[in-house]
Symmetry: D2
Subunit: 339 residues, 4 copies
C-alpha cells in the first residue's frame, strides 16, 4: 500500500507514521516530495492493519495496491480455466456456450416444450428457476420443491445440463441432483454464508454480479467459493444499476474484457436481465460475443402471455431461434468453435 | 397500472390490448389522445399479469402505480410504529436513540471498556459484530461463536440492549439470547431466505439498505419480514453506491424523510459506514437528526490502532463523547426527547 | 400524462383536480380504481402545465408519457438519416465509418504522420482536438488558433474530412473552414447556447452524450440543434459515470440499440474515452459494431510517450491497424458495407 | 504519483520505467515488494506526463496523488473565505445566508410580491431566472432580455442583492447590472469558456455542482474561475444523479463537510433542485444547516398553480415562512449568527 501524508504534516508526524508502519511488521519507504510526502509500504497486508494506519494522525489517504487474487486471478494461474458442465460440454475454452430456458419452471409441459425448442436452436444448457427470489414477498416465488421432479424428467429427455438458482443454504442439498450448475443470483452475490457452502460442493457455480458490485467485488466473491475448494466458478455479467432507466439495468460490456484480463475464469453475459426488453436481447447478445464472452444466458418462453415471471424480457422460441442463429454466426466470425 | 400504447399503433392493436386486459380480469379504460393512446387498468395486479401485458404487440411501456405496502406502508397504518428494544427503551417515538459500539467484538476487555464509555456518553444500545461479512474471504470474519459469551457478559454488566448482525439462517438461533435486536447488513438486504426466517422470531430486526437498493426496494424487503408476523422492523440508511468516491458510500439523506413519509417504521442512520471517514461522522450524524431520523448507529473503538476491522471510520471514545453531546443538543433543538 | 391521485384522497379533491385539468385546456379522464384513482390527461402538454398540476393537493405523482420528439424521433421520420460528411462519405447508411486521429493536434508533423497512418488502415474521417476542454485549468488546452492551419494543410493532403470539438460559441466561425464536422463534447451536451448556434451552421454536428445524461436527455439535446434548422446531427455514446472505476467511464452499449430505435439519427461509439485503457479499445469497438452502431471514433497517436493529452487511451498506429482490421471484418460479418 | 508495476514484470521492464520517469524530469523511487513493485515519483506533474507513463509497458496503474488546489484549496489558504454579496451582506462567515425567490422571473407583479414575502421571512438574497436552460428546446426559456428591467426595479425596491443564472458568454455583460451574483447552473459546470470569462468579472460567482461531477471536479471548475482573477466563488451542492428515483436527484449531504475541508470557499445547498418535491425541502434544508453549510437557496412561488417552471419543487410563501423559521432556529442552535 501507499500512504499519502497530509500536506503540511511536520517531520515528527511522518516519523511517527514510519514507526507505526514498522511496528506492524511492514517495511516503510518514506519519500519526501516537493508538494507531498508518501510512504510506500512493503509486506503482507491485512485489512485490519490498513484500517489501523488510516486512523493515524497525518494520514490523508491510503491507497491499497490491488493484490493478486490468490485463487481466481491471472497472476497465480495464467491459463484460462475450462469448466466441465456435464454431458461432455465445457465452458471457457474455444466453444461458445448458450444457456437458455424459461425464467421459472412452471409445469412439465412448459419446460419440456421450451427445452426441445431451445435445443433445436443450438442451446447447450437448459436454465429454469425452481426457487425464485422476488423483490416483493407477494409475488410468485417459484414452484419450489414441486419443480424438481419436473426438471429432472425434462433434462433427462433432452440430454441438456441444467442450471438453476439456489437462494438458501438449506436448498443446496435439495437441488444437488437436478442442478448440473448452481446459479447464485445478483442479490446473493455477497451472501458469503451461501458462497462458502457452495465452495464445498462438487458442482460448478455460476456467480452473477450484484447490481452495485464492482468487477473487483465480483472476483472477491468468486474467491469465497474457490477458497473452500470449488475452483469451478463461472462469472456472469447481468447489468449494473445506474441512473439510466431506459433499460432495467445497464449492461457493463467492459466487464467482459476486464474480468477476462484479471481472472482465468469463464465469463457469461445475461442480456435478458441486463436490459429487461425482449427486442434488445439480440443486439446485446451479439455485443457480448464480440467483446469476448464465453457464453450467454437467455430467457425463452413458449407462451409469453402465460409466463409467470419476467415475461417482458423473454424471447419466444421463434425470436430465440433468430437470435441464436445470429449468435452462432457471430461466434464463428470471432473465431469460436460452434458445436 | 397504465399502458402506454406505441405511437402509430392502429385501432385493431388497441382493441386486442383492451381484450387481453379484460381476459386477465381487469377493467380497461382506453383513452385516445392526440399524440398517444393510453389504457388505464383497474383491478388487483400481480407482477405476472403485468409481464404478460408488457409482451403484447403495441405496448410501448407499462407504468405500474405504486401500490400501498400491505404491512409497512402509511396507507394501511398511519400512526408511527414504536418498537421496544429491551431494557425499557423504544425507538420510533419521541425519544432519540443512539446505538454505539465497536465494529467487531474482539475481546471481553475491549467490549466492556467501550460499552462503559459509550453508555457514559449517553448511548442507549450497544452494537458489536460477532459474525462479520467481509468482501474478501481472506479478511477477519469476527470472533464467531466465541464472541457470544463475551457479549452476554458485557450487556448484563452495563444494562444496555445489544444489536448484532446475523449473516446466516443457521445463526439466528445461535444469536437469539445475545441479540436484543438482529441486524441485517446491506449485502443481505435481499437475502429473502434470511428475511423470511427473521419474520418468525420474537426480536426486532434492523434492516440496512443495500448499496444499490431504492427506497422502494428497502420497503419491499421490510415487507418480507413483516409478512411472516414480525412487525418490529427498523429501517437503516447507510449510504448508497454512486460515482462519488470522496466518501466510501453516499449518504442518501433524502431517504430519511422519504421512508418516514411512505412507512410507519422507525428510521436509523449509520453515518460511520456511509462515509467511512472518522472526521465526517459528526456532521452527518447532525444532519440525520435534522432530517428527522429516529436514531443513529455509530462505530466507536477504545484503541483505534488495534481495531481489527473498519478502524478508519470508528471514533475514539473522546471523539464519540464530543459527537454525542452535539447530537443530544441537536435532538433537543429539534424537539426530540433526550433521556 | 397520467395523474396518480394519493391514496385516501376524497372525492372533492379528485373533483378539484379534474376541474384544474380542464381549466388548463386538457381533457381529463378520471378512473376510479380499487386501490388508487388515476386521471388520464389528453392534450398538448407543456412542462409548465405539468408543474402546476404537480403542486395540486391530492397529487401523488404525475407520469409524463414520453412524447414523440418533434424532429429527431422515429415517430415523425421513420427512415434512417444518412448524413454527408464531405469527400463523398456519408454516415447512417450501409457503410460503416471509422473516425480516428490524435486526441489533440500538436504539430504538423504529428498530425500529418497520424493522418497517413490511419488512412492506410481504412479510417475515413480524421479527428483531432484544436481547442481542448480540460478538467483542470492548469492542463494543456490545445494549440488553439495555431492548430487551424496545421489541420487545414493535413486534411488537404490526405483527403479525409476532419472532425474537431467546439467549446465556445465564438469559435464556431473560427473553426468553420477546418471543421467538416463539429463535435460537441460530453461536458457541453447541455450547453444549450452552443447547441442553438450550431443549429444555424451548414455542417454536421456530432453530439457526445454527457456523463450523466440519459438517452432521453441526449435526444432532447439533439432536438436543440435540429429545431434551429440543422438536421445533420450524429449521436455519440462515450460512456456514462457509474460506481465502477475499473474503466474511466462505463460504456452503455444498450444506448446503441436504444438510440437507433427512438431516433433516425446515426449513432457513433467512442470506445477510447469510454474505457480510458488502450488494451480495452478493441473489444469495445467490436461490441459497438455488433450492437449496430454506424461508426466508431478512436484515438490514435504516432508516438505515445510524447502525447500531450489522453495518452493512456490512445492506440499506436500498429495497434490501430490491428483493431481496424478486426473492425472491418466484424462490420462485414454484420452486413455493413466496408469501403 | 505512484506507479504500480504489473505483477510478473521483469527487472528490465522496471529499469526502463525508472529511466523513463527520470527522462521526464522526475525523481523515481522504486520499491521492490513481495507481491508488487511500485515506483514513487517526485516532481511537478502534468497530466501529459502522467499519460505518457500510463502507456509504458509494465504499468498496471498510475495513482495520482491529490495535489493541493493552487487557489481554492485549504493547503494554500487556510482561513475561510468571506465573500461580499452586496448590500452589506457576506457569505462564508458566521452569518447564515438564505437565498430565495422564484425559479423564473415571470412579471413585475410576480417578482415584486415574492421578493417582499421572502424578505419578510428573513431571506437576504433574491433569486430569479432570467435566462433559463431547459432540457427540451420546446419548453419556456425565461423572459430573457425583458426580465432585466423587472429584476432591476424589484431589487431596488426591496433592497436585496439579486442572483441569476448566466448560460451564455454573451449574456455576462447584459446581466452585469442586474446580477449581484452570477449563478452557473449544473449543466454548465464544465463549460470552461463560460467559467474563464466569469473569472474576469467583478462579481461573485455561485457555481452549482454538475449532476455527475465529483467534489474534485467541482473544485477544479472553481479553479477555472479563480485562475483568471475572480476569487469570489461560492460552491453549491444541488444533488447528483444516482439510481434512486424517489427524488429528482440525490442530495449529497457529505459534499458539505467534504468541500469545507478541502476548500476555503463558502458552500450553499439547494434543496429544491436536489429533491424536486416541495414537502421535502424543509427536512433537507435543516440537514444542510446541521452539516455545516453557509447558506441555502430555496425556490418560492407566490401562486404555484401559475408558475411557469419547476412548480413542483417551489414552496408557497407560507410554506417558505415555516421553513425559514425552522432554518433560523436551527442555524442559531448550530452557532451561526442570524441577522
Amino acid at each position: 500500500m501507499v500512504i499519502i501524508v497530509e500536506s503540511g504534516a511536520d517531520r515528527q508526524t511522518v516519523d511517527n507514521l514510519v514507526a507505526k508502519v514498522s511496528s506492524l511488521g511492514f517495511t516503510p519507504h518514506p519519500i519526501y516530495g516537493v508538494e507531498k510526502t508518501v510512504i510506500a509500504v512493503v509486506g503482507e497486508k491485512t485489512q485490519e492493519k490498513i484500517d489501523i494506519l488510516e486512523m493515524m494522525p497525518g494520514v490523508q489517504q491510503i491507497i491499497p495496491i490491488l493484490k493478486p487474487y490468490k485463487l481466481v486471478g491471472r497472476e497465480v494461474r495464467t491459463e484460462q480455466s475450462v469448466i466441465p458442465l456435464g454431458e461432455g460440454l465445457a465452458i471457457g475454452g474455444e466453444r461458445f456456450v448458450v444457456m437458455a430456458g424459461p425464467c421459472a419452471v412452471e409445469s412439465y409441459d412448459q419446460l419440456s416444450e421450451i427445452a426441445r425448442y431451445v435445443k433445436s436452436s443450438g442451446a447447450q444448457v437448459l436454465r429454469g428457476g425452481i426457487f425464485k427470489p422476488r423483490t416483493s414477498p407477494h409475488d410468485f416465488q417459484g414452484l419450489r420443491e414441486e419443480g424438481i421432479p419436473i426438471a429432472m424428467a425434462v433434462k433427462a429427455e433432452v440430454g441438456l445440463p441444467f442450471i438453476t438458482e439456489v437462494v438458501d443454504i438449506r436448498d443446496i442439498e435439495v437441488l444437488h441432483d437436478v442442478a448440473d450448475v448452481y446459479q447464485v443470483g445478483a442479490r446473493n452475490m455477497q451472501n458469503f454464508a451461501l458462497l462458502t457452502e457452495l465452495g464445498k460442493v462438487d458442482r460448478p457455480v455460476m456467480l452473477k454480479r450484484g447490481m452495485s458490485a464492482t468487477v473487483e467485488d465480483l472476483l472477491q466473491a468468486a474467491e469465497y467459493v474457490a477458497v473452500e475448494g470449488n475452483a469451478n466458478v463461472i462469472l456472469c455479467e447481468r447489468g449494473i444499476r445506474t441512473f439510466e432507466n431506459f433499460t432495467r439495468n445497464t449492461l457493463d460490456i467492459s466487464a467482459v474484457p476486464a474480468l477476462k484480463r484479471r481472472s482465468h475464469l469463464p465469463v457469461v453475459v445475461d442480456p435478458s436481465h441486463a436490459c429487461g426488453i425482449a427486442w434488445m436481447v439480440e443486439p446485446l447478445a451479439l455485443a457480448a460475443v464480440a467483446a469476448g464472452a464465453d457464453g450467454l444466458m437467455i430467457e425463452v418462453h413458449n407462451d409469453p402471455p402465460k409466463a409467470l415471471s419476467d415475461g417482458a424480457q423473454s424471447l419466444t422460441p421463434d425470436q430465440f431461434d433468430h437470435t441464436a442463429a445470429r449468435v452462432w454466426a457471430a461466434a464463428r466470425a470471432f473465431g469460436r468453435r460452434v458445436s
